[in-house]
Structures are given as structure tokens and as C-alpha cells.
């Protein structure tokens, strides 16, 4: 049996907490957790270090609340979904009536890589809907930019407030609609410089070699090899399911490698592609799902060139003033 605001709800009860102070955060979090503990429900906090300590200090001693490392869980959206689904399935197998989780993204994730976390926030409405989960996603309105808060409104069906209300989000958009929208990423300044490698219709093997060639030993080997897996899968999908010509471009910076793979097609029709394994074994879906777990950022978008997947290994949190653009390349539609 479910308790609290989610009582009687089927599936996932997903809320955002948009707070303006630590007092407000605690005013939502502490009763949410204590009510869960009182009901005997698995009650979990996935906050960063500072807020985890804050919540711990506000809870009575011995409260049976699990604290997960938010940093590890929220490294990559698709991996987070996979981990959470495994966690939820384990609890469900024990016959629990409800699972409560409150989590937060690190402030750095609300910047140039926010786009894939926005997709995560939307996708989980579907991905967790086969579990009796009540979760809250905390956003600090003093830190999150307005455009992030606008996406939070579109990806969360409701808000939890400090005065213990649960308010529907009037901008909530169904995941299938939200995820099908074209979402141009923040251009990486590296893409405004000439690529280290550019290939047309490469085989997967040629694409893998291009990544190794571009690396130059600057990134840790495991990150380069994960990127190689992602590039191999993405090129394979583009060749198999996209429309020719397939263009591979690789840029190498001091702290990251950026790869874009563009074909003339429309991209996958499954809005959850990359975030969840392909439904019904759909084309290319497993490769894209692996790709999303093998890079530190994945952007996918459509523009005049066709469909592009951009992959980043290394540090994806680039400063937008970090590279000197080549004026001849700034007009490229793919980087606009």
C-alpha cells in the first residue's frame, strides 16, 4: 500500500522541488523521509556531499534512511536509469508497497550538459513507471538558470512545496512528445576549429582507428576506449539505419575528444532511444543505449545537415570561451 501524496497512485509519482533556501529544502525533504521511514518504506537520499550532510543533521539519530552517493549515480543519465531500475526492482522483489527517493544533480550538470539530463528527467516518467516509486528531484532556484527551471517544469508532472502541497505542473509535457523535440546542444568551441580527422562513410573499424589517432595519449586510456565503443556503435547505426553520406569528424582538445557523426536521415524514431534499450529489439537501439553509457556527454539533434550524434570523452564541461574559433568555420550549420 502506498502512503502520503502518492497514496492510490499507480506507477511513478514524480515531483520537482524548486527551493530557494536550505530551510525550504529541509522543509520538504525531512517530512518526506520521516513519513517514509514511519511507513516502513525504503527511503533513500541521493544528494551531493553538502546537502547529504545537511539532511543527516536534520534527521533524528538512527533514522533508517539510505544515503547514496549522488555523484556516482548521476554520472551518466542512461547508467542512472539502469542503476535505479535495478535498485527499484530489488526493492519490489521484497514486496515493498512504495519506495521513496529524493535526489539532486550537481550544479555543474545544469550547464552545457543539461540537455541530456533534461532528457533523463523526461524519460524517467516512463522508465520508472512500472515501480511504486515516489521521487523528488531537488533544484536550487538560486543556482539553476531559468532555462533549466523551464525544462524542469516540462519534465516533472508536479511540484512538492515547502508547505507540504503537491501542485501539478501546468507545463508538463508527455515524454514521447518532449523527447521527440529537436534539442540543439550548446556548441563545443572545439567544433569551431578544424577537426583532427574527417571521414566520409567510414567503416566502424576505420572510425575506431580515427579516434585512437586523434587521441594522442592525452586522455586516460579507459575513457578513450569507451569513446571508441560509442563511435563504433554510432557509425554502425548511421551506416545501417541512416541515409548516406555518413560524415565522421573528430576534434581533440587538451581535456576532451569530441566526435560528431552525421547522416542525412532523420535519426531514430523511438523517442527513448539511447536512454532505454530499444523497445521490441528496435533497430540500433542497443548500440545507442551503450553509446550513452560510454561517453561523458551525448547530444543528438537534427539540422540542415541531417541527424547528428555528438559524443564527448574527457571533460564535457567546456568553457564557451575556451577555444579560438576559425572564422572560416563559424558559419557551419552543424555547429551553429
Amino acid at each position: 500500500m502506498r502512503t502520503g501524496a502518492a497514496a492510490g497512485h499507480q506507477g511513478y509519482y514524480h515531483e520537482a522541488v524548486c527551493y530557494g533556501s536550505e530551510e525550504e529544502l529541509l522543509a520538504v525533504t525531512v517530512p518526506f523521509l520521516l513519513d517514509g521511514v514511519a511507513a516502513g518504506e525504503p527511503t533513500i537520499v541521493a544528494f551531493g556531499e553538502r546537502h547529504a550532510a545537511l539532511v543527516r543533521s536534520a534527521l533524528p539519530a538512527g533514522a533508517e534512511v539510505d544515503f547514496l552517493s549522488g555523484g556516482d549515480l548521476y554520472a551518466r543519465p542512461t547508467a542512472a536509469i539502469r542503476s535505479y531500475r535495478a535498485l527499484l526492482a530489488a526493492h519490489l522483489a521484497r514486496g515493498v508497497g512504495q519506495i521513496r527517493i529524493i535526489g539532486e544533480l550537481a550544479p555543474s550538470m545544469l550547464g552545457v550538459t543539461w540537455d541530456w539530463w533534461a532528457r533523463y528527467e523526461s524519460a524517467i516518467n516512463h522508465a520508472y513507471d512500472d515501480f511504486p516509486l515516489w521521487s523528488m528531484c531537488a533544484y536550487d532556484t538560486r543556482v539553476a538558470p531559468p532555462e533549466v527551471l523551464a525544462e524542469v517544469a516540462r519534465t516533472h508532472p508536479r511540484y512538492a512545496t515547502a508547505d507540504r502541497r503537491h501542485v501539478p505542473s501546468e507545463h508538463y509535457t508527455e515524454p514521447a512528445v518532449y523527447l521527440a523535440e529537436n534539442r540543439l546542444p550548446v556548441p563545443d568551441p572545439l567544433q569551431l576549429t578544424p577537426p583532427a580527422v574527417e571521414l566520409t562513410d567510414p567503416t566502424a573499424a576505420e572510425a575506431r582507428r580515427a579516434v585512437y589517432a586523434a587521441d594522442g595519449g592525452r586522455l586516460p586510456l579507459d575513457q578513450v576506449e569507451d569513446l571508441v565503443v560509442a563511435v563504433s556503435e554510432t557509425v554502425t547505426n548511421a551506416l545501417r539505419y541512416g541515409r548516406p553520406a555518413v560524415r565522421l569528424r573528430v576534434w581533440s582538445g587538451d581535456d576532451r575528444i569530441v566526435v560528431s557523426i552525421t547522416d542525412r536521415g532523420e535519426g531514430p524514431s523511438d523517442p527513448f532511444a539511447g536512454l532505454l534499450p530499444a523497445r521490441h529489439g528496435g533497430p540500433g537501439g542497443l548500440g545507442l543505449w551503450i553509446t550513452h553509457q560510454s561517453c561523458n556527454h551525448v547530444a543528438q539533434y537534427r539540422d540542415v545537415d541531417g541527424f547528428t550524434i555528438r559524443l564527448t570523452a574527457g571533460d564535457p564541461l567546456y568553457r564557451t570561451d575556451a577555444a579560438t574559433p576559425d572564422p572560416a568555420l563559424t558559419a557551419s550549420p552543424a555547429t551553429a
Partner: protein
């Protein structure tokens, strides 16, 4: 491609070599060098091909000491029907036994081993022939790891086509087959382990699945062991093939390779039928 060509040179000296060709003169040169190296090492040489003996002798012309080697019986020109079944459907077990016997006979005659060049295109022309011959290729690879027996198996690409040649070439330790990215070979003598080398990816995962079937690997203590010191890449499709193949044999596939990405894929896909162990 570069490493395949490099191997091609060194492979000419010994071992199990697949030589694919579209120019018979180039094959003849490779055959002469392969046999010549064996004769120089005291091995008995066999040249098995579809041509009449006198034509075969012409093709070997230029091999140092050819006539003397033929006179002494150090080198033999063997008709295919005396080395292989006349109907062209090879019995993998019987054929390996025949070469094992021939190897022991060569040793008994004072040679250091047996070395064969065989033009096998006629034995692998149809899918049924090819399936039999591919199974034989892996079994004979095991014999070569255990006994002083070497062979160059030659296939005419213009007759068989590249895909058919690839089915056979991938079961050799060394090959010059163009574009072939991986090989599945026997490991050291006295072991049921198999060795994977090269790259296994979407372009060849079906070929890999077929190669596994034909290798007929045997589990030991519930484990199907493969090592990959020269395996550079394996994707999720091939890991899945490996897991399913092992499961059908009631075993877990254990792949020893320095490929952290393979371990991560196994974990990601929750593939219980395969385990990746870091190679020492």
C-alpha cells in the same frame, strides 16, 4: 590491413596459413617459399593441388633443389583425391587423423615434420562443403599446435568470392585475406582453449558466430576458455554470441583479454554467460 600483411610475411615460414589469391602466379611464389622453408628445416613437403603432376611441377619450378627433393621423396606432389575424399566432402575428424598419421610417418622417415601446401578451393565450393571444411580447419589447427605439422591452405578468391574465403580464413592463425578483421585459432598444445585475435564488430559478428559453431569448442569444468592477447576489440553482439554459444554447451565463456570495455559491456548487458578476465 597493415598487421595482416606483416603477418603474411612471417607466416610464410611456418604454422597454419590461409593464403587467398586472385593471381595464381602470386600463390605459386608463396607456395614455393613456404615449402622451401620447410625443406630447409628438414621437413617433408607435400604439394596438394588439382593440377596434373607435371603442371604442379611447373608451378613449383624455381624452388631451390626441386628435382633433388622430388627424387628423394622429401617433396611430394599429391593428387587431391589421395589426400582428401574424392566426393569433396571432407570428414573433419578423419581428415585430421590422416594428416596426424602422415606427420608421424614423416617423422619416422627421419624428417623433422610435415609441411603441406594445399589448394583447397575445390573442397569448399558449396556451403555444405565449406561447412565441413571449416570444421576441419579448426581441428587441424589444433593438430598443428600439438605436432610438427604446418600447412598453407590456398583459396581462389575469384572462384569462391571474398565472403566464402573469409569463412575459412578466420579459422587460421595467419592469413592474407583482404579486410578480415578477426581470427579464431587453437591455443597452445594440450589445451582446449581457443585464441581470438583482431577486432570483432558489427561487420563480422555473423561470421564470428559461424566460426564459433565450426570450432566446436569443448567446455572444461563448465568453462569455455578463450584467450585474446591480440584481441583489440569486441562488441556487444559478439559477446552475446559468445554467451549464447557457451550456454548451449552448458558452460560459461571465459575470455582472458586486456579489454576493460568488454568487461563493462558484460556488466551493462548483464551477460551471465560470459566472463572477461584481465590477461596477465
Amino acid at each position: 590491413m597493415r598487421d595482416v600483411i606483416t603477418e603474411q610475411r612471417s607466416a610464410v615460414s611456418r604454422g597454419h596459413v590461409c593464403w587467398s589469391y586472385d593471381d595464381s602466379a602470386v600463390f605459386d611464389d608463396a607456395a614455393r617459399r613456404f615449402l622451401s622453408a620447410g625443406l630447409a628445416a628438414g621437413e617433408q613437403g607435400w604439394y596438394v593441388g588439382p593440377d596434373p603432376a607435371e603442371v604442379a611441377r611447373e608451378r613449383l619450378a624455381g624452388l631451390p633443389g626441386l628435382d633433388a627433393a622430388l627424387r628423394r621423396g622429401d617433396l611430394r606432389i599429391v593428387a587431391p583425391w589421395s589426400a582428401y575424399p574424392p566426393d569433396g566432402l571432407v570428414d573433419p575428424v578423419g581428415q585430421v587423423h590422416a594428416y596426424a598419421t602422415a606427420t608421424e610417418a614423416a617423422l619416422a622417415a627421419g624428417h623433422t615434420g610435415l609441411r603441406v601446401v594445399a589448394e583447397c578451393s575445390g573442397l569448399a565450393g558449396t556451403p555444405a562443403q565449406r561447412d565441413r571444411f571449416a570444421r576441419y580447419e579448426h581441428r587441424v589447427d589444433r593438430l598443428m599446435r600439438a605436432r610438427p605439422f604446418s600447412a598453407m591452405c590456398a583459396y581462389d578468391r575469384t572462384r569462391l568470392g571474398d565472403p566464402a574465403v573469409a569463412e575459412l580464413a578466420c579459422l587460421h592463425r595467419h592469413t592474407n585475406a583482404p579486410g578480415l578483421l578477426f581470427r579464431l585459432a587453437a591455443c597452445g598444445p594440450g589445451t582446449d582453449c581457443a585464441e581470438l585475435a583482431g577486432e570483432l564488430d558489427p561487420s563480422n559478428h555473423e561470421l564470428f558466430a559461424a566460426a564459433l559453431e565450426r570450432a566446436e569448442l569443448r567446455p572444461v569444468d563448465g568453462e569455455l576458455r578463450l584467450c585474446g592477447p591480440r584481441l583489440r576489440y569486441i562488441d556487444h553482439r559478439c559477446l552475446t554470441h559468445l554467451a549464447r554459444y557457451a550456454a548451449r554447451r552448458g558452460a560459461v565463456a571465459v575470455l582472458r583479454a586486456s579489454l576493460p570495455t568488454a568487461s563493462r559491456l558484460v556488466e551493462m548487458l548483464a551477460l551471465t554467460g560470459v566472463r572477461v578476465e584481465a590477461a596477465r
